[in-house]
Symmetry: C2
Amino acid sequence: MSQRFAVGVDLGGTNLRIGMVSDDGTLIRLIRAPSPTDRTPAEGLDVIRDLVQALVDSTGVIPEAAGVGIPGPAVDTEGTIDMLPNLPGWRGVPLAAELRRRLSWPIVVENDANLAALGESRWGAECRGLDLIMITLGTGVGGGVILGGRIWHGALGYAGELGHMTISLDGPVCGCGNQGCLEAFAGKAAIVRRGCRLRERWGGTVSDGCGAEDGELTPAAIAEAAQRGEEWAKETLDQTGRYLGVGIANLICVLNVGTVCVSGGIAGAGELILAAARKEVLRRAFATPARATRIVVGRLPEPGVLGAAGLALTRVS
Amino acid sequence: MSQRFAVGVDLGGTNLRIGMVSDDGTLIRLIRAPSPTDRTPAEGLDVIRDLVQALVDSTGVIPEAAGVGIPGPAVDTEGTIDMLPNLPGWRGVPLAAELRRRLSWPIVVENDANLAALGESRWGAECRGLDLIMITLGTGVGGGVILGGRIWHGALGYAGELGHMTISLDGPVCGCGNQGCLEAFAGKAAIVRRGCRLRERWGGTVSDGCGAEDGELTPAAIAEAAQRGEEWAKETLDQTGRYLGVGIANLICVLNVGTVCVSGGIAGAGELILAAARKEVLRRAFATPARATRIVVGRLPEPGVLGAAGLALTRVS
């Protein structure tokens, strides 16, 4: 059987990534560009088409289809973009139909977190598995649910909003308006605030109020400090990992999936955060499934681009 | 196409129910007996065989298969019973194999909550649907997850332990050892304790300490008092419904299923408890999926028996 190829596009609010991917999950070439979100959608779509064409020319392979990841749910089979905070001017654009017109291949549009989960599920090193939940620790806490090797969308495409599970009835207010969401404990703002306070308590830099945007502190900087062995940073990751573990324990209770894959900036700290998460899972979920669940870091480069191409290949085969 | 039949068995810790069911979900006849859990497994299996045989004789129809629900996970395809609190002497019994030997039909063994969910999913009035989560409010809070018309087991059969989601990090200790589980807020003991305290506060019966086993107060009695309009009871259901709503909101975030079906003793209070749950769901989950999720009472008679027969028919077809 000859090899097949698809293009994977990750259309983020800031960055655009386009990759040529083979059906064994090899990322043959990747193009990065600023996301054309400051253009009109028509111009932006032309930019994407030109970049894809350049990718085809430079690799010399003919893709069968393309998949596009967007930072929100795709509302219909035309890939129409709903109101997305990161793509405000693109509301109502039938993305799949418009790109199909420009590229003349089948195009699928899907939520980017779902595609990243699909990419890890198919081709990840430690995360690979037919039943997988991916939790992404970024500015927000997102995720994707893969059941039987397929993306689980739910009735309206809103499945996988893992950061908005309530883990503390009367907990801190979340950006979504709810109280005590996982994201309010393990999202970027919460991590930075926790790190800032713990750094003060351990006698380090004193900041004014420890707001979410305080100084230069970022989750990545906290992860680096922890890897250097700084206690305040290790404690920040430990506490964050425990909250993450509460969320993972809940997912085990509901779905008992075999693998939970954690990715995103702070997940780079790896064992420092996952060891605490695993401990909390053992404390909270039933022993048998808790012990059997693999809780691992997703390390696939460009899982969203790979997942987009993988989904496109599945749809046309 | 001629009609097909199967036997559904619900082997509970206290009661045994055996029904003859047709493939359109009609419960043709039901036999009730005490659960033979005080016998040796061999004797108990003979009792079940004799009752099934009596059911076949009295209905005059020939079933193709039988399904058996047990109060815990079935650990393998032989339907081997693990250590179950309600069937302590039956540990290690290969239930499917033993019944197959006695009845010479195909036998499937499955968790009873999963079967009740399957029954409602196929033949329920309001609950019917391919994607459904059932929450059972009984002594504990259990449930079943039906995705694409099939029971979702997860890796080891532990999916659907909905009562053990943490909804309050530092909440009351649950029977499972964890803190702040949904069951610790919406299980029988919690409901009775809440009802007892609220009855006191509203100037009713004063109890000594309001323990979980206090006096004659039961969830059903609270539901009846609420239906008579007694304020303490209405408030008990309202508060319970709000906790239930937190759990349902979490399920919507993770799976965005179309239908959440609530059953069990106190669910008989219907709107009094579900109205509060729906309000809490709207407060906590994203607006679009929250509004679209049907949160309804499961009213199918004998959903576990029907689900057991339904699963058996699916397996042999």
